[in-house]
């Protein structure tokens, strides 16, 4: 009997933990949709800060080109290497080009680029806005009757959402070229056949759906980063926590939403 009584608090503790975790989850989801809703609401209000938009587009697009290109190139290369070795076993080497181009445009291009941008931009958005929050810069903006969502979040989310598709389009091209290089120059594939097969089964729909995915991922990662930064508490430690959480959360949401987007789009 006494043992049962002693065990009771431990049982309650589980419920407490589940309750706390659920509340935290609802809070995170609520913050995400609050930022998303406010961003859409403020996107069409004047003034349109062209300077901020340009700055953010350069930061997300131009500055991310090297890392995204490198990732795409090596992904295309390893994809060609793996599929060539596999397809060799049943003499289907000529289809390597199709596999590389379809995998890249439909799946790997958007997902890998989004994950790289989540690490590069999502984290920096959270750190930047988080620091501004803890040093009262966001409060100062609000006190000056400047809506922080309008000035800070709208250009960042807009630029990331707009820049992801062109980045992914370039990444797809580089990835296909990487695959071509490995298959032709390393594995000895016929370049004309490889090139022909690359485009034979590739629909425009494959490319466009991949680019739509990229835009959605851009929206997800930027809103997550901004939400994490915007609601930062707890000084420098809090900024660190927000930065890590932004990357982890954005990556998980990208991968989960990828499944549903693929189901809807293809």
């Amino acid at each position: 009997m006494s043992d049962e009584l002693a065990a009771a608090p431990a049982r309650w503790l589980i419920f407490e933990r589940i309750g706390k975790a659920s509340l935290q989850l609802f809070e995170e989801v609520g913050r995400f949709f609050y930022i998303l809703h406010s961003t859409i609401h403020w996107s069409f209000r004047r003034p349109f800060d062209l300077q901020q938009w340009t700055k953010q587009m350069v930061r997300v697009g131009v500055d991310s080109m090297p890392v995204v290109s490198l990732t795409a190139m090596f992904t295309g290369m390893v994809l060609a290497l793996q599929t060539y070795r596999g397809f060799e076993r049943f003499h289907a080497e000529s289809f390597v080009g199709s596999v590389v181009s379809l995998s890249l445009t439909r799946e790997l291009g958007p997902v890998l680029a989004a994950l790289m941008i989540a690490g590069r931009i999502g984290s920096s958005l959270a750190a930047e806005l988080g620091t501004m929050r803890v040093t009262e810069q966001i409060d100062a903006m609000h006190a000056m009757a400047v809506e922080p969502i309008h000035y800070l979040v709208v250009p960042r989310v807009g630029a990331t959402t707009l820049m992801l598709p062109p980045l992914v389009a370039i990444a797809n091209g580089i990835g296909v070229l990487g695959g071509f290089g490995v298959a032709v120059y390393l594995m000895g594939a016929n370049p004309v056949v490889y090139w022909e097969k690359t485009f034979q089964y590739l629909d425009l729909n494959d490319v466009f759906s991949g680019l739509i995915k990229a835009a959605v991922f851009g929206l997800i990662l930027s809103v997550t980063g901004c939400a994490k930064g915007f609601f930062t508490t707890g000084g420098a430690e809090g900024v660190g926590r927000s930065t890590t959480a932004a990357v982890v959360m954005a990556s998980v949401v990208i991968l989960v939403s990828d499944f549903f987007l693929t189901k809807i789009l293809f």
Binding site: T135, E136, D139, A143
Partner: protein
């Protein structure tokens, strides 16, 4: 203002008394709690046009929370903030934005935008809220910097500024839009006594030259007596004193006397 010195004009006038003028800002029965802890418990306070009200109180007394209500950074649980007869807590977002534009707030560490230099920090509210040309903006920034005696630092990065300079740049940014009410959040906290005195002098000069209404929160009593026309003391979320500085100094209340002398009460020690 009349020829009568401001201090004499306001001696003994408190929020509770029958003041002849309509208050510029009236705080009415303001309540706020965070996670079940009551920070503000029924605050009533009036700020009159041209007044320099200083709200003093220990750490955790609720001073910053009260000040943040003035610009809508915090929404009260209950009560009202009435600015020029308009209830800020009930106003629709557009009206609230308009009211907020009539306030200028200076934050504790300056809260300068570190991605912008000094000039752009002060120009920021001008660019967002006015259609001034670059020349007009430059002239206004120069004027604001002159008011805080910091000419020649326009193109410095905010990271290069000392603590006292950051606050003065914060003041310059707060006055850029020619606000009717200036709010100062702990303007001298963390500064050495000499720099603190300089800051106080700048605040007094700003009051005299701009003829604005001022609300300052501080726990620095020396600074409070230098800049206040009226002092309100906040203790455990309530206003326990609201009077002219000379009356506060002479009050027999033991808590007030201990606070002025910088001595802790028994409760605070334990």
């Amino acid at each position: 203002m009349s020829a009568i010195p401001p201090t004499q004009l306001r001696v003994g006038r408190t929020s509770q008394s029958l003041a002849p003028a309509t208050p510029k800002v009236a705080v009415l029965d303001l309540w706020k709690s965070f996670a079940g802890h009551e920070v503000l418990r029924g605050i009533n306070l009036c700020v009159y046009e041209g007044d320099s009200l200083v709200i003093v109180g220990g750490s955790g007394a609720g001073k910053s929370v009260l000040l943040k209500h003035f610009v809508g950074l915090i929404t009260p649980d209950r009560g009202h903030i009435v600015v020029d007869g308009e209830d800020l807590t009930r106003a629709d977002p557009r009206v609230s934005l308009e009211i907020r534009r009539t306030f200028g707030m200076s934050f504790q560490e300056g809260a300068l935008f570190d991605s912008l230099d000094v000039f752009e920090n002060i120009a920021f509210p001008l660019r967002r809220h006015t259609a001034k040309s670059e020349e007009e903006i430059a002239a206004r920034v120069h004027e604001c910097l002159d008011l805080v005696h910091l000419i020649g630092v326009e193109h410095k990065a905010t990271g290069e500024l000392s603590g006292g300079m950051r606050r003065r740049i914060g003041f310059a940014r707060a006055i850029a839009l020619q606000p009717e009410v200036l709010l100062f959040d702990e303007p001298t906290t963390g500064l050495d006594p000499v720099t603190a005195a300089v800051i106080d002098r700048v605040i007094v000069e700003m009051r005299d030259r701009l003829l604005v209404t001022m609300v300052t929160i501080t726990h620095d009593m020396r600074s409070a007596f230098r800049i206040a026309d009226r002092i309100a003391m906040l203790h455990r979320g309530e206003i326990i004193v609201d009077a002219a500085p000379e009356l506060v100094r002479d009050l027999a209340d033991p808590y007030v006397q201990k606070f002025l002398a910088g001595e802790p009460t028994e409760e605070e020690v334990t």
